[in-house]
């Protein structure tokens, strides 16, 4: 049982990491980003092409980790910024539902592109780390998973510091609270918003590159995962980075336990869906305190 919980913890780590990215976007521009997973997925595929590719094109070769990694992350960041320009900026004053549907469409575009470029089958992506890992309560914990843990911790600490101490973080929070007022006091709203999206895109890219070796690495892997990430973000209240991360961890553990115990298929999803719906109805702001 403890092995199941621990396994759930490491799966939940992934949900949490993705939830954090969705929260970053939401805090920055009040938009739920349905293209979050696809943004990272494209980055991860670019990374995999540059690192492990063996295709006919000159790009798909091993160019070394130190070229592939930054390029992959940069692609995701650029796509994040592109999303901002395409749907978020023109709709800053529209009802919040419109940019949400817009990000859906952007995600679809990314997905279609990837499906046509890389097909729907699973690819292989080697872990960034080597080694045997460690043995915990009967579970072999891979180094890649420990890396995810470390990166998550770094991301959380970095974001906290960014929001708390930097001038950029201050501008972010101001823009998120009231873009109009922020503009009046001299914040370049467009640039700030774009920077948020680029930041989130980069985070998504890093997450995807880290996760890819742990899962079946096909073009849909981030779509499936980021829906759980979204659930985590919603439970965490959409504005609270720590809340989203914790919710993601809990989600992973709950899921693993239910899946392990339940004899009926589909119960995991219903349980989670029911919980999220009930939560949204009873306490729309999520479990965690909203944070700015």
């Amino acid at each position: 049982m403890s092995a199941v919980v621990l396994n759930g913890f490491f799966v939940g780590l992934i949900y949490g990491l993705l939830g954090v990215g969705i929260v970053v976007v939401y805090r920055g521009s009040r938009v739920v980003n349905f293209a979050y997973g696809e943004t990272g997925m494209l980055g991860a595929f670019v990374f995999a092409d540059l690192r492990f590719g063996s295709g006919a094109s000159a790009l798909a070769h091993d160019h070394g980790l130190w070229l592939a990694l930054p390029v992959g992350v940069a692609v995701s960041a650029a796509l994040g910024a592109l999303t901002e320009v395409l749907v978020v900026r023109p709709l800053r004053d529209a009802p919040r539902i419109r940019p949400l549907v817009g990000t859906f469409a952007v995600g679809a575009l990314f997905f279609i592109f990837a499906a046509r470029r890389w097909g729907l089958n699973s690819h292989f992506s080697a872990p960034l780390t080597r080694g045997k890992g460690i043995e915990l309560v009967g579970l072999q914990v891979q180094p890649e998973q420990i890396l995810v843990l470390v990166v998550s911790a770094l991301a959380l600490a970095g974001l906290w510091a960014l929001y708390r101490f930097s001038a950029f973080g201050l501008r972010l929070r101001a823009t998120a609270l009231d873009p109009y007022a922020a503009g009046l006091v001299g914040v370049d709203v467009d640039r700030t918003s774009m920077a948020t999206w680029a930041l989130a895109g980069a985070l998504s890219g890093i997450s995807a590159i880290l996760i890819a070796p742990l899962v079946a690495f096909n073009v849909a892997f981030m779509t499936t995962l980021s829906i759980r990430g979204l659930a985590a973000a919603v439970v965490g209240g959409l504005t609270n980075v720590g809340g989203a991360f914790t919710a993601g961890l809990l989600l992973g553990i709950t899921e693993a336990v239910i899946a392990f115990k339940s004899p009926v298929s589909g119960v995991t999803d219903v349980a989670i869906a029911g919980f999220v719906v009930a939560l949204l109805v009873v306490r729309p702001s999520g479990l965690a305190r909203s944070a700015y």
Binding site: V11, V87, V234, D269
Partner: protein, 770 residues
Amino acid sequence: MRLLASVTIALIAILGTTTSTGAASTVDHQAWSQSQPVATFVPKANEIYVAMTASLEEARSFVHIGTAGLSAADLQGATLVLKEASGDELQPATAGIAACALAAPFTGDGQLHGGIPAADCTLRTDVSRDQAGNWTVELGIFADRWAGGVNNGIVLFPESASQTTAFRVAFDTSLTAFQGAAVAPAQPPADANEPAATGISAAIGAPEPAAPFQPNGVFSASATPPTASAAPAVGSPSPSSTSFSRARPTSVGLTAPLQGPSTTGSSLITMTVFAVGALIVGGSLRTRRRRDSMVGASAGSRVATGVPLPIVIGALALLLVPLVTRDAVLFKIGVVLVFFVAAIGLHILVNWVGQLSLAHAAMVGIPAFATLTVSSGTGISPVYLLPLAVILGAMVGAFVALPTLRAKDLQVALVTLVAGIGLDRFFFAQTWLVGGAGGRASATPSLGPLRFTTTHSLYPVLALITMGAVAAAWMLMHSKLARAWALLRADPNVAAAFGIPVVKYRIAAYAVGGSFAGLAGGLTVMWIQRLGQNAFPDTLSFSYLLMAVLAGPGFLGGLAAATAMLQGGQQFAANIFGGGAGKVVDTILTYGGPLALIMVIARYQEGFNGLGRRLMPRIRALKLIGREEGEPDPGEAISLSLLVGATLIVAGFVTIALAWHHISRTNQLWVQNQEILSGGVVGLGLILIGVGLFIRDRLARNHVLLARQLERLMGPSSAAAAMGGDIEVVDGKDDADGLRSQNVDFVAVPPALESVTPTNGRRRRARVAG
């Protein structure tokens, strides 16, 4: 074939123990590997596993087959049967497993740590399971490759499109058996327990292997990647299904040939009966004076009576289309119609009520599967079950509505999304509802004494029900309900202040949307007659949303255009443009859907309906001289000659292009000559006539404008009279409910004043320059 084969295989599996013990020795290596670093189970030495947790692959298996002494022909009908080791499994009945060819040699056994051989999924097939837990792989598609003697093995992995998100199948390696081709030639299943064995199975199951790795056809009009061409045949109306064309190459599971006297007879009878009914309904609508509706953005300002011409034309086209189409084409048209009916539901929710639902796939799917289950279980015609589907749809809709009541806009999206996924994942994973891996087949549709065994005989029923749905939507739009919804959409608080019970009306909106979706679900069963459990993936909701948002506020014209463009284009791309061009068009359509959505969301929020509202008055203003009030200026009106001219020019170029195309495909000189004459010359002629019409139009237009200017110069007094013309504002009579206050009728507004009429909107203000 797959179905036949799986039945055969089941027989083989039963007989297998006695007949083919010798053959089992050809399976020489069996291994498995863990795809995620951590496992949720403790592996056993004599078992191999295929597993999935949280929709992610957890374990895959490898089986190597020694093919020494076997030719490709021997392998052609061969199968591999794996037996489950019960006790170490998790939900094996709902698991989905696919098999791919090995891309590298392997010789391992047991659990592999590293050195995991790669899979080549250009060769892939589904693995089917029977009740007893035997999984069967048909090896035919691997035959050619293996005959070379390399990498002759398969990789078994969990389908990411499986409805369960977690399963584990354990195979007992000691029972894995290779079955030679000896028993392969399948006898037709005489088994009466198999409801599908009525010929439907043969038609539908035929070119199947359902595409396994397709991730739920994610994202609508899209995700039909080139590789998925052998896609999910089991009649999933998921947008990703190019499958329809393939699934039913000739006819809708027809037992009788098309020209059978009984079927054409019944087709004619039904068509006549329904046509008369439709005429009566249409007539009653026409005589009924139209009450102004607030649904369309600007439609309300013009009073019209009766059914608009486009609807009448559309209805006629619907009824006449079977006269000129083949079965396969008609089948696709029917699929598009079913999509359209489903989209009406979401259109009402999104564009009339201003609510959002991302649970639409569940609203369509649950009634569909319920109908299917009842129909296949009791043999009742799915036509009779349509009311049940409607009611169920309304119930699902109302259920989805409940949590949205307290939520505001963003949360509505999230709540419906989550609820939709929950419903989808739960219900569509239940075998009692969706049937087993092969899906279920419905009873043959019938109505009274009429049995609809062909696409052509069934089509009138579908067409008329579709028209009935349109008529229902029409009545709905002019009802009290829709007026209340319009106010609700504008501002729920104001609506509440005016005494509209917001909660009641919102639930009603979802129930109405759901009932249309339910109707579409019932129609899906009636039309396709066989559904697999992946027929309604939750991403399908996105396709519907795409159509509704593209349609924009207004009646169903924009929705019809959006559906025809996205779904119709998807279905017919190859038909219209030929194989090679079909791919290009397919690309345009798949990218075009989301791109258009972004455009509509960000820039042009009125969608196709808004476009129609702008274009229609211009097209209507066919008269050039003697312009009446309210008609647009000839400076921007589209005249008949302009329209015809443009059409002719396009037709001319198309003719020439086609002629060129044909010429390039033949080396027969006489054919080429003929094409040059008929195609080239006629095309040129068409273009010439078109250009002539353009010139004529321009001249006439200049003439009118000149005359107008002269008039203005010569008679300032008449201009003054025009400026002083009365503006009569006709207000709604019963202002008390506040609902009609926007129904302002502008009568006799002189063109010069249009610019200053405040409520007139952007469109007219822009016209001052003209």
